[in-house]
Structure formats: C-alpha cells, structure tokens
Symmetry: C2
C-alpha cells in the first residue's frame, strides 16, 4: 500500500537545538534539501527486487535497493524514489558522499580509462605512475614513522596480511635475522611446527577484525559471526567497559582500564615469559574504538599503556583503523588522539580509503619476495576514488567540518538523551564517530526501522547501540536534520 | 645502455611449424603486429621507477612497469616502449586482452558512472539492477545445479568463504538442522569447542588455494608462502604425480591415481569414522589442474572417484576454479571436462572473472543472515568488466578460438620439445592452459628472463615449469609467434 508520509520539519521537534555553526566546507553541489519518504519502508519495488535476488543469494539482510545514480551527497535514494539522509555511509565506507563531482571527473578522465578497464597485478606489473599514485594518496595520509605501504583487497585481507607480516617479523627476529631453516621449510608444508609455529595474536573481547579464518580468531564481537567456524587457539583479553560520559566517571573508568591492562600483562607473561600456554603471542591487535562490538571507547592513557606493554614484551602493536580511519573522528587516524611516544608498528585500513591495506614500520617488510603477496595486491581503480577523497579532504576542510558537525550532533544527542531518558543513553564518541544506546536490542531495531520510515538511514552495532558513520561532507545542517528525525521517532516510541 | 634488439622473425626459426588454422574470432582491433623489444630488460625507466617504489614497498618481484594505456589485445607495453606478447595474462586474470573496445564502451557508458564512483555494500544496499547484473554475468556461466551465487573480493576470499559455508553446513547437518546452542554461542567467543569446532578441509600436496590464514592451511605449493605463519592442523593428501604425455603412461598413471585415492580414503576414515585424529573433515578442496604447484594434472576418472569419496563420506566437494575457470581450458569451467554424475558442492572463482566468489548448491546457503558477509561483498564495478567478457565470449566464439589456438600451441610445443630434448619436456595441458618443464629451476628462470628479452611475457610455476595463461583472444597466430620466440631462446640456450 502506497501512502505519502508527512515530512518531518522543525515544527515537529519537541527539543530546541542550538543555532547551526558555520562550516568552512562548501555545500554539496545539487544536494537534496532534505530526506523524503513517500512509500512504506521497504518500498514495493525493493520488496519485489529482494524476491528476485533471493533466487540467487540471501537477500534477508538487504535494507533496500538503491538508485545509485539518483543518490547525491548525504542522501541515498532507493528504487521507490524515497531519499534518506545517510548517517551509516555504506557501513562507514563512504568518504565524500554519493556522486561527488570530483570523483565523477576522475572516472571520466580519459587518462584513467586504461586503469578502469583491466586489473593489473600490482606486485609484478604496476602501472607507470604507481609510485606517484601512492605518494599522492596513501603517502599523504601516512602515520609518521610507518613508511611501508601495502595495498590489499579489503579490511579483512588487510588485517590478515598485517598478521602475516607480524608472524614473519617475529620468527625472523627469533632466528636472529636468518632465513628459515630446511626443517622450517619442510615442516610447514605439512602444517607442522617448527615451520608452522604456534604463534598467536592477542585481541580483545568485543573486538572486530574481520571474518576470514585468521582475523575471525581475533574477532569477538558477535557469536553468530564465529560459531561453527574452526578457530586458531588465540588468547583474548577483556576490553574496558567504561561508563559515559567519560568525564563524569573518570576514576571508576581508570580503575576498569587498569584491570584490563593487568589482564593483558598476565596473558603476555603466561604466553611469552613462563610459556605455560599453547602459543606465543607475536602481536596485539586493537581498534581505537570498538565499532561492530558496540562503539566501546577507552582513554588515550589506556592505549598508551597498551602500546608500552607491547613494546616491553617485544610483540607488535597493530592498530586496526579499518572503520576509525579516514577522518570521521576529527583526525585522519583515530590513534592520533592518543599522542603516542612510539608509533604503532602497523596500522590497517580499508572502508573509506576504498582500498584495503596497511602501513608498517620498515622492519615489517619481509626480506624475501612473494611472502606478502596475492594476484592483485589491491586495485588502482580504487586509488582514483581515494585520490579524489584526499584532494577534497584538504580543499574543502573536511576534518574541520567533521569536528564542527560532530560536536553539534554530539551536543544535540545529549539533549535528546536528557529529553528521552527512558529511550536514549550513553551518548559517546568523537567527531561524527558517535553512538547512542537504546534500552534493548528490540527497541534499537525498532528505532532503526522507524528512522528509515521517516528518512534516516542508520545502522546498529553491539547489542543495543546505534552508530553514526556519515561521510565527511556531513555538515551541521545535516546533523540538525538527523537530530530532528531522531526526536520525532523517540516521540513516537513514547506513545 | 640502450640498444635495439633484432626482432625475432620466422627466418630465425629452426623448427617448421604447421600452417595456421583459421579461427572464428575476429582480430583484435588495432592490435600490434608483433612483439618488439628495443631496450635491455628491464628497461631503464622501469629500473628507475622500481627504485622509487622501493622506498614505499617491496619492488623486487616487479617484472617491469606497464603503460596500460598503450597495451592492447595480447600485447603488454612497458614504460620503455617495449611490447611483449603476453601469455601470462596478469597471472591468468586477463580475460579478453588489454583495452578491449567493449570494456572501454562499458566504462564510458554514462549509466555505469554511479557504480564506478562509489562502492556499494552489496549485502545490505545492492543497486537497483543487481539481480539483472548477476543473471547476465555469473548467471550465464553458472555450473548446472549450483544455483547459489556469492560474490566476494578475490580468490583467497572466495575460498575462505567457501570453507566457511562448508563448516556452517557441516555443523548444521550434525545438529539435524537446528541452530547453534547457547553453549556453542558462548564457547566460540573464546575460540573454544564446541562453538569453534575442530573441523578441517582436506587438501592436496602441491595445491594452492590462496594465502589468507585459512586457505593457506590448505595450500601446499611452496614453502616460502607458508613458513613462519601459524596453520590450522589440517590434513593433506598426495596428489598424483603423473607422467606426460598422459596417453603414453596410462597404466602407470592409473596406478598412481589409485594410490592417492586410497590415501584420501584412509584419511577420511581416520578423521571421520574411527575419529582417531585432531579434526573432523568437513570438505575436500581441489584444483582441476594444480597451477601454482607446477601445472599438475590428474585424469577425469581421478576426479570422478574423488567426488564419489566426498559423497560417500558426506563431506563437501569444493572445486577451486580460481585459475582454471573462465574458459582457458576450452570449457568455461575445467571441471566440465570430468563429466561428473553429481556436480561439485561449491565452485570458487576469481581472476578472469574479475570478481571473486563461489557458486554453491542451495544447501550451502546459511539459514541465518550475516554469516557469510563482509562490508562490500564484491564490487559491481568489476561486474561491468565481467559483463563485457561474457558478451564477447559468446559473440566472438572465444571458447572455440581457445581450443584452436591451444591445440596449435600444444602441438608446436611438442615439436619444440622434440627439437630440444635437453631443454624442454613434459608438454601438457588442455586449451591454452598449457605448461612445459625445464631441467632445473635455474634454467627455467633464465629462459623466462631471456623470453622477456625477445618479447614474450610468461611466468613460472612449480619448481621448473613455465605456464601459459593467455587471454581468450589469443589466436593461432599468437601461438605461432610464441613458438618462434621460444624456439629462438632455446636455440640461444644451447650455445
């Protein structure tokens, strides 16, 4: 049944939000004035297309089918003509909105035609301008000290290869820099020690590092992602369960963080000093903000101490910035907020960067070729999009905009939490990398659904959280529209 | 030092090759008449660019830097202006040559601009025409009975997710179709049984299924790919070591295949019947022709019996067609040569298909959502290239062409092996999916290098083999040029 929904406007708002700050970022050319939903959610064409898809692949997770040509800037348009303000950004992977004119221009530039027309094997047959392409994209966003750049296919692939680089580094170090022995080479062909060593990556409860078999062993966000799949026998440490707002619970939170750090140290001792465990730990992997696990934060001090533990126990410190990277925290890399003395050893990325990969310190380049390798080693076609992102980031002051829009959204969400104490809680985050909690998974799912009905495309994380992952072109005015739509839905939930 | 090399021409040839058969495939528009190398290999610009790249990433495996705009059809052009006849095809991943006009047209088609400009999350926000896109590409190349299509990022990702689908299927079957228990869900969060079960995939010595941690445990081609990386304790069976030509050694080869099948059955018994092993086998994975491991063949009868063993022991039969798929054996999928009574349970693909993924029987679709899932689930931008490939495959009779060119090349290689018995041996393969052996790794490497010096871009596999993996637009005339260049180099190796 089709029916036209009343548009949400400021007049519906029960909460008074402050005036909009001005942003240095220009408006997105030709962007829609607001969200607009004219059909049921999901719309009839989406439902019909879902049935078609179901004959070939699972379609039950589909939100709706998208008209990617009509989508523009912060607004995603579905096949039924509804447009949604998108604060989910393709699971945090949309850097500068839909159909940015700079990306269009790059795709249509005749000099990029060849790269868009075939996939080069970058490890053996890179294009002429490959070094230049790296320098002007990933070279510009490089965390200090991490001079090695490895491009890969996606976030899981990035983490898994970062783990491999860590294992190779660890074993090479153990051998005093020598290459593998004959016995190493022979035994590994049968998946046996010493060539296939009992090494592990230490990860955290609630952490998410991807779904391939190696990184899935370091993932502990949701059971349904892991169950029935064999796992490496890798250790897991508790991640701090902090109370929000962080300032209000500083002492309590510090105690919780100390507990987790003690636990990490005890695992490191057990595995690498007394060696009373099935594996030796070669590295620690951590997200700056646990995303999939529910937007769990820890303090810069926690991460500084964790980094120091890795250093003291001579294991690699891997920061997984697949979701946090790319500017949405207000700094390009979330770990920049920590002000580390000693940079991470490896930083993995994907999502907004369009290409997967990792940065590393020079020690993590294997001495031998073909050890970190696959057919394609990334995709220069995605570097074209990344180039546009990096250019616009600078020309349009997107980090500054993200701070402004994020602060505005953050303050507004706190106002809403005050207004709806039975519905919203634990407003948290930095930049536009924000989250709120609902009282239960059911109410969160209902809210996400109702928000789509009024034109807000968002996504859940953890058990009962809603996460905000808009593009970097999300401006204060979009934050206001977001707040008004949430206000409207919360109002309805009360009834 | 720059110097102009004499072009190889038929007058240099010491072997008389038969006249060229005609092919139904039209010539590639504007293709170069032949290879032409005018500088040292690698050329001075490639060497300089390699040094630049080395400051950011390992460049030691680079053959040369490529002018992808100037490359055309079967000829790859380097930054020094040299052009090589390419029989390696971007490690078997180039379906219809460089800069095919049909791919250009698709890339430049305004209706594809949006899909080229942002990466959709296909699992939750597919484009409007996604079902149609699947039907007209992967739907057209679907092996009979395998109605499930899952698109993924690359070959490793395809195999790894195929393994995951097998584990989920196996455990669901063990539970009589019920969902995981509370204990399953809790224990898997700590990487512990029963939620993280001790399941394995049985693979073969010499097999290659990728380099991520799960599929690397099923890979046994070269030690340097595996050493220092922790592995799952998965079993490995011997793969037949056949003598070539296969016809001449039929009885001996049949005995060798029987030995390997007996071994497979004994492992299946040990793991799944007497259960006197550390894991239960959930599936068997095999390449139709072991590629990376050295182009090792087995007979259709071997594969039929292997398939039957999988069926008898109720484990999944996974055929890894990442390299063999896409038509170069003269059939679109190499396993079509086997004439199986019961189709494989899963068939993985990537490379020439441009997108990774796997086909599966309907049983291998998990009941729950988000179990086979990642952010992007493939890339519709690559489906644009795949569409052009599938269309041209049919319109230009590429399978027929591949049989003709392959048979011509095969016969010519045998002539060369007869002419140079001390250098070339074991000519083998089907379609253009061919290989030859050299007496030693050193001589193979020298030959690959010398071939580049005269304009043939090829690649090694195994210890001492050279593999042919041209595009499907490789015609008999290109086969002749290939033979002449090999003849020339073999001539030189004798001196």
């Amino acid at each position: 049944m089709l029916r036209t929904r009343q548009l949400v406007s400021r007049s519906f708002s029960s909460v008074a939000f402050p005036p909009l700050p001005s942003t240095p970022t220009p408006p997105f050319p030709g962007e829609y004035p607001s969200a607009k939903v004219a059909t049921e959610y999901p719309g009839p064409r989406s439902v019909a297309l879902g049935k078609e898809m179901e004959s070939m692949q699972q379609a039950a997770a589909v939100h709706f089918f998208v008209d990617y040509t009509a989508s523009k800037g912060n607004y995603i348009v579905d096949v039924d003509g509804n447009r949604y303000l998108d604060v989910y950004g393709q699971i945090a992977s949309l850097p500068i909105g839909y159909n940015h004119p700079k990306i269009h221009a790059a795709i249509q530039d005749p000099k990029n035609l060849a790269i868009l027309s075939q996939r080069p094997c970058l490890g053996i047959l890179p294009p002429a301008d490959w070094s230049n392409m790296l320098e002007t994209t990933l070279g510009k966003t490089q965390p200090p000290g991490l001079s090695e750049i490895t491009t890969l296919m996606c976030g899981s692939c990035a983490n898994e290869n970062a783990f491999k680089a860590v294992f190779i580094w660890y074993q090479t170090k153990s051998r005093g820099g020598k290459p593998p022995s004959e016995l190493d080479l022979q035994s590994c062909m049968h998946n046996e020690a010493p060539g296939s060593p009992a090494l592990s990556i230490l990860s955290f409860q609630g952490g998410f590092h991807g779904r391939l078999l190696g990184c899935l062993s370091a993932t502990h966000s949701k059971a349904i992602h892991k169950v029935d799949i064999p796992a490496m026998d890798w250790p897991v440490a508790p991640f701090p369960k902090l109370k929000y707002p962080l300032d209000a619970y500083a002492a309590e939170n510090a105690k919780e963080e100390a507990r987790c750090l003690d636990y990490v140290e005890s695992i490191l001792k057990l595995h690498n000093v007394t060696k009373n465990a099935t594996s030796e730990i070669a590295g620690i992997v951590v997200e700056p903000i646990q995303a999939e696990g529910g937007d769990n934060h820890a303090s810069p001090s926690f991460f500084r101490q964790l980094r120091k533990l890795a250093q003291d126990y001579e294991v690699a410190f891997i920061v997984d910035e697949v979701q946090t990277g790319g500017g949405s925290t207000g700094k390009f890399w979330a770990h920049e907020h920590w002000e580390l003395d000693n940079a991470p050893d490896l930083v993995s990325f994907s999502k907004k960067m369009q290409t997967g990969g990792y940065y590393a310190k020079p020690d993590f380049r294997p001495n031998e070729t073909y050890r970190i390798f696959n057919t394609w080693m990334g995709d220069p076609a995605k570097m074209i999009q990344l180039q546009a992102f990096v250019d616009v980031l600078q020309s349009d002051n997107l980090l500054e905009n993200t701070k402004l829009a994020g602060d505005y959204l953050h303050a507004g969400l706190q106002k809403l939490a005050d207004q709806y104490p039975g519905i919203l809680s634990n407003v948290r985050g930095v930049g536009t990398y924000l989250a709120i909690d609902f009282p239960s998974p059911e109410l969160r799912d209902l809210a996400v659904n109702r928000l789509r009905q009024v034109g807000l495309q968002s996504g859940g994380c953890g058990d009962r959280s809603l996460r905000f992952r808009p593009s970097l072109i999300f401006q204060p005015k979009h934050a206001l529209e977001t707040l008004e739509l949430i206000d409207h839905v919360c109002n309805g939930l009360l009834r």
